[in-house]
C-alpha cells in the first residue's frame, strides 16, 4: 500500500529543495552585506542591522510565515504565491542567521590584512572584496553547511501555507494508508540522504578550497 505512494512522497523532494535552495540563496544575498555592514559600518547602520537580525532570529518561523503571507505583503498591495512567500520568509530569516556566521568569519580574518590592502591603494570596499571575503567565505563554509541542515528541517513548517513538501506529503500518505511508521521511516531516510549528501558535498568543496599550510588554523 505504502509502496504505491512512494513516488508521491519523492515528488516532495523538488519542492523541499526549492524551498531550501531558494531560501539559502536569498539568505546569502542578504546575510553577506549585513555582515559587512556590521563589521565595517557606521554606528547607525550597525544599530539598524542589529535590529533586523534580532527580529528575524527571535520570531518563530510559523509566525513569520503567517505575518508575511497575510499581513506584510497584502499591506503593500500584492499577494504572493505560497511557495514564493515561503522562500522569501525563509530567506529573510536565514539571512539573519547567516549574517552572524559571516560576521564571525570576517572578524577572524583580522584587520591587518585589510590595512595592508589599503596601504597598497585599495579602497576599503575593494580590500574587503579581494582580501577579506575570499578568506572569510572559506572560513564560513562549515557553519554555513550547518545552516543548510537547519533550513532543511525548517522547510517542513511551510506546510502551513500549503506547500507540498516532503513532510506534508508523508503525513497525507500516513492518513491515506493508515500506516503510521513506514511513510515516516521513508521520509526520515530521505532527509538523512539530503542532509548528509549535501553536507558531504559542501565539505568536499571546503577541502578543495582550503589554503595550503593553514590546516588547523581554519
Amino acid at each position: 500500500m505504502v509502496w504505491e505512494y512512494l513516488s508521491y512522497i519523492f515528488w516532495g523532494v523538488p519542492w523541499t529543495l526549492g524551498l531550501v535552495g531558494g531560501g539559502l540563496a536569498l539568505g546569502f544575498i542578504i546575510g553577506l552585506p549585513i555582515a559587512i555592514g556590521q563589521v565595517y559600518g557606521s554606528k547607525g547602520l550597525k544599530a539598524a542591522l542589529d535590529m533586523y537580525v534580532w527580529f528575524f532570529r527571535s520570531t518563530a518561523l510559523l509566525v513569520l510565515l503567517f505575518l508575511f503571507f497575510w499581513g506584510v505583503f497584502p499591506a503593500f498591495g500584492f499577494k504572493l504565491d505560497a511557495l514564493i512567500c515561503s522562500i522569501v520568509v525563509l530567506g529573510l530569516r536565514t539571512g539573519a542567521y547567516q549574517s552572524q556566521i559571516f560576521r564571525g568569519a570576517i572578524e577572524s580574518v583580522g584587520e591587518g590584512q585589510l590595512i595592508a590592502a589599503c596601504a597598497l591603494g585599495m579602497s576599503k570596499l575593494r580590500g574587503i572584496y579581494h582580501i577579506v571575503l575570499p578568506q572569510a567565505l572559506r572560513i564560513s563554509l562549515p557553519g554555513w553547511s550547518n545552516e543548510y541542515a537547519i533550513i532543511l528541517k525548517d522547510s517542513a513548517i511551510c506546510f502551513a501555507l500549503g506547500v507540498q513538501e516532503i513532510l506534508t506529503r508523508t503525513r497525507y500518505v500516513v492518513m491515506a494508508t493508515h500506516e503510521p511508521l513506514l511513510p515516516y521511516f521513508i521520509a526520515g531516510a530521505l532527509f538523512i540522504v539530503l542532509t548528509y549528501g549535501v553536507t558531504k558535498i559542501i565539505n568536499i568543496v571546503y577541502e578543495k578550497a582550503k589554503i595550503p599550510g593553514l590546516v588547523g588554523r581554519m
Binding site: E4, Y8, W11, W70, L161, G162, M175, A176, P180
Partner: protein
C-alpha cells in the same frame, strides 16, 4: 555625559520603534478594515474557477491517492456539485490549523473537509446545510462486561486522539467528575490499538471515523462493541465566507439535490461513511 552621537542614535531608534509599534497596534485602537468584498455574492456562473480547500489528512472524506490527486467522499461530492453548475474546481490541500484563516483571507473559496459545524467556527464562517451526522462514542473490548459508569470511574486509561474533538470530550467528562485517565494518542488507529493491547479499557472515538474504519477493517471491528454515546449529534457542513451568499446557496441546493438522489447512497457505500 552621554556622547551626542549615542543620544541621537538612541532618539532615532526610539522614534522608529515607536512608529512601528503604533502601526502594529492600529487595529486595536481603530476599527478593523472592512472584510474583503464578497467574491461570490451571486451564484458563480459556469466556467468560474472555485478553490475547494481541504485537509488531505482526513480519510475517507478527504485524502490523497498515490498519484497525488485529491480523492475522498467530500471530493466526489464537490466534483458532482461543480459539474452541476459548470464550475472548474481546484481541490487545494491546506494545513488544517490555518484552513479557516485561508478561507477568510481569500486563498480558498470554501471548505469541504469533514468540518464540524461548531458555534465557535460559525462566528467566522457561514455554514451550508449539514450533509453528514455523527456522534461521539466510547468503544470497549467485545468481552467487556462492565457498565458505562464502572468504566468511566474505573481509574484506568481511556484512549482518544490527541487534539481532536474526542480529546475535548474526554476533558469534558473528566471535568464532570468521572474518574478515569486520558490516554491521548497521535491517531485514532493508535487509540484503538491501545484497547487491543490492554493499555486502555476503552476508546473515545467519533462515528465519522469508526464507521469507515470498521468497514475497512472488519477484523478490528469484530473485537469491539459500543459502550455508550457521548454528547449530542454533530454534523459536517461546508464552510464559506459570510458574504458569499450566491456560492452558499448554490452549494446548499446542490447538496440537497444530491442527497435526495441514489448517487448519494452509492458514494456513501463507496467510501464507507
Amino acid at each position: 555625559m552621554i556622547k551626542t552621537q549615542y543620544a541621537i542614535a538612541g532618539i532615532v531608534i526610539a522614534l522608529i520603534v515607536g512608529a512601528a509599534a503604533s502601526w502594529v497596534m492600529r487595529p486595536l485602537i481603530s476599527p478593523p478594515p472592512p472584510p474583503p468584498k464578497a467574491k461570490f455574492a451571486e451564484i458563480p456562473p459556469p466556467g468560474t474557477k472555485i478553490i475547494h480547500g481541504m485537509d488531505a489528512a482526513y480519510p475517507p472524506f478527504t485524502e490523497i491517492d498515490p498519484t497525488g490527486k485529491a480523492v475522498g467522499f467530500d471530493v466526489d461530492v464537490v466534483d458532482w456539485i461543480a459539474k452541476k453548475y459548470g464550475w472548474t474546481v481546484e481541490h487545494k490541500p491546506w494545513e488544517w490549523a490555518a484552513i479557516v484563516t485561508a478561507l477568510v483571507k481569500g486563498d480558498l473559496d470554501f471548505i469541504a473537509s469533514g468540518m464540524t459545524h461548531t458555534a465557535e467556527r460559525a462566528g467566522e464562517v457561514w455554514f451550508t446545510i449539514p450533509y453528514y451526522t455523527y456522534i461521539h462514542h466510547i468503544l470497549v473490548s467485545i468481552g467487556e462486561t462492565r457498565t458505562k459508569e464502572e468504566i468511566l470511574n474505573s481509574g484506568q486509561y481511556i484512549s482518544c486522539q490527541l487534539g481532536a474533538t474526542s480529546d475535548k470530550w474526554a476533558e469534558k467528562l473528566l471535568k464532570e467528575g468521572y474518574k478515569f485517565k486520558k490516554l491521548a494518542l497521535d491517531s485514532y488507529e493508535l487509540a484503538f490499538e491501545a484497547v487491543l493491547d490492554g493499555r486502555a479499557v476503552g476508546v473515545l472515538s467519533d462515528s465519522a471515523f469508526t464507521g469507515p474504519y470498521f468497514k475497512e477493517r472488519p477484523d478490528v471491528a469484530a473485537k469491539f462493541k459500543e459502550l455508550c454515546t457521548v454528547g449530542g449529534v454533530e454534523s459536517y457542513a461546508y464552510a464559506t465566507r459570510p458574504g458569499d451568499y450566491g456560492l452558499r446557496n448554490a452549494l446548499n441546493q446542490g447538496l440537497e439535490e444530491l442527497m435526495a438522489s441514489p448517487y448519494w447512497d452509492e458514494l456513501r457505500e463507496k467510501w464507507g461513511v
